[in-house]
Amino acid sequence: MSILTQEFIINKMERKRETRTGELIRRFKYNKSAVFGLVVVLILILCAILANYIAPNNPTPSPPELSNSLKPGFWSKDGIKGMPLGTDMLGRCVLSRILYGARVSLRVGFVAVGIALLLGITLGVIAGYYGGWVDAVIMRIVDIMFAFPALLLAIVIVAVIGQGLSKAMIALGIVYTPQMARIIRSSVLYIKEMEYIEVQKAIGSSNRRVILRHVLPNSIAPVIVYGTLMLATAILDCAALGFLGLGAQPPTPEWGAMLSKSYSYIVSGAWWAATFPGIAILLSVLGLNLLGDGLRDILDPRLKT
């Protein structure tokens, strides 16, 4: 084969790859709710990155300005200038705490999902690719972990390793591992039967090479889809742990912890401190869910329910 022909083929392949990406983007654009989800997620990420610049106030002033305690926001004449969403019981700016909270939630989400991906992919690939008793053992353990509601398992792990934000991340990561392992395993089982894997084996590629070069890259779609959906769950569960007092500890500006500290004040009419952090959680989770659903529809129509 002349060099020219090779160039031609490579060119053609690259063009083909481009059009595939282009086609995916086009399909994504048609999915309005997915685009909305993407926008929400981008805003969330921007808030997290730019929190220092866009937050009007210090989220954790010390000592707290108790004279500003539970002041309403822009909708009321009694509000303090520069604190558009009002203040919490320690006189801290709710808006600033929510913006910094985006940082906390995303960090927890990414770390937890990262742990789950690392462990889940390893276990899933080993179980799916090698099969046999390895598979049986791993999957039985996964089954047992599935016998617990995720939040309860996270609480149990927190009970062992202790409370706090970093421990909550680890706990959630462990809790999501079985889900990821199951998804990867089923994907690997499907790919394993493909002809190109058989070809690889026939030409004597090592298991390691087959897994790293062929099995893993081809199971990337469910990883992206379920990783996104898992991020939504992680943000929700992180807030839940914070709310129960088992996750982020004060004065960390975490959405769930903000809620748990401020909801007893709704009786005295201070609704804002408990309302806005919840809206932040709801919108972030909604955005990620929509994005995940959209990605699933375009990347892997097989998974559509």
Binding site: S33, R140, I141, D143, I144, A147, F148, P149, A150, L151, L152, I155, V156, V158, A159, V160, G162, A232, L236, A239, A240, F243, L244, G245, L246, G256, L259, S260, Y263, I266, V267, G269, W271, A274, T275, P277, G278, I281, L282, V285, L286, N289, L290, T305
Partner: protein, 334 residues
């Protein structure tokens, strides 16, 4: 059928054993001396040595596990560090509260969820469909605890329609028989108490029902749409059956199988949601109990709750599997 149920029951054993290993290792994984952990930080030397003796804590781990499992199977899960009560008793005291809350929420979620799904599917792309599915989308992303707080704020604090925490108005005379408030007030014919119990039940169960309701609505819609596209539905319409008969008599029955799967799967979410809902509404159930136990490092209580939750979850999954066979005779189990 009998064989199938026996087989399913046998399959429970490894899962339950695994769960018990998780619960058992809790005390050994937690930092500190197991005997001291079980006895509590402020226990006397006497209590600690009694516990060491009872659970054989100086023996190898697998023997310890055996002793502990034997105790658990005889209903002895140890004593709570905080209250010094038997954990099993504390769990049984709280179980009726959690059961009533979750049961009520599940009923609510199933009724409203399936109906919303059926209506959405039979009027696909209508305003009603979009409204229901929009709400369901919010529902699946809803932080339960926040929804609880909002309901509390709107209906309890501002409108003052419903009470915000507890189980029954303390001023109403009430006789406890079974511990199930609803049941007890019906048995004793105490109408005032029944009304009060229901009023206290409304907000927590709406909060708890939201997520399963939304999931059930989404699944029953897509399942209905699939069934409505099938040939036998076209035949029925062609032979002139009314739309109501087609949908409610023939389509629904065929569309319910995935819905039942989802209901079974959602039970776990419901238990997790109960932990949060009970904390928000100060509902004296097992969810609130386990959170307090973790906060106070009351490990025997945490152990008991783990076993209890896992047991519940496994049983519900079993029931779901058995219901399939009754609902769809086409499913054959080997």
């Amino acid at each position: 059928m009998k064989w199938y149920i026996t087989k399913r029951l046998l399959m429970l054993i490894p899962v339950l054993l695994g769960t018990s290993i998780i619960a058992f290792s809790l005390i050994h994984l937690a930092p500190g001396d197991p005997a001291r952990i079980m006895a509590g930080e402020h226990a006397s030397q006497q209590v600690i040595s009694a516990i060491t003796q009872k659970y054989g804590l100086h023996k190898p781990l697998y023997i310890q596990y055996g002793i502990w499992l034997n105790c658990v199977l005889h209903g002895d899960m140890g004593r709570s560090i905080i209250s010094n009560e038997y954990v099993i008793k504390e769990i049984f005291d709280r179980f009726p509260n959690t059961f009533e809350l979750t049961f009520f929420s599940m009923v609510l979620a199933i009724i409203i969820g399936t109906f919303a799904g059926i209506i959405s599917a039979s009027k696909q792309y209508s305003t009603l469909d979009y409204t229901f599915m929009g709400l369901a989308l919010f529902g699946v992303s809803m932080p339960v605890f926040w929804l609880g707080i909002m309901l509390m704020m709107i209906f309890g604090v501002y409108l003052r329609w419903l009470p915000i925490s507890g189980r029954i108005d303390i001023l109403i005379p009430f006789q406890r028989i079974t511990g199930f408030y609803l049941l007890d007030s019906i048995i004793t014919g105490n109408f005032a108490a029944l009304i009060s119990v229901l009023r206290y039940l409304i907000l927590p169960s709406i909060a708890l029902a939201t997520i399963p309701m939304a999931t059930i609505a989404r699944v029953s819609r897509s399942s209905m749409l699939e069934v409505l596209r099938q040939d036998f539905i076209r035949t029925e319409r062609a032979k002139g059956l009314s739309e109501r008969v087609v949908i409610y008599k023939h389509a629904v029955r065929n569309a319910m199988i995935p819905v039942i799967t989802v209901i079974g799967l959602n039970f776990g979410l419901l238990l997790a949601g109960a932990i949060l809902t009970e904390t928000v509404f100060s509902w004296p159930g097992i969810g609130k109990y386990v959170v307090n136990a973790v906060r106070m490092r009351d490990y025997p209580a945490v152990q008991g709750c783990i076993l209890f939750f896992a047991f519940m979850f496994v049983i519900v999954n079993l029931i779901t599997d058995i219901i399939y066979v009754y609902i769809d005779p086409r499913i054959h189990y080997k």
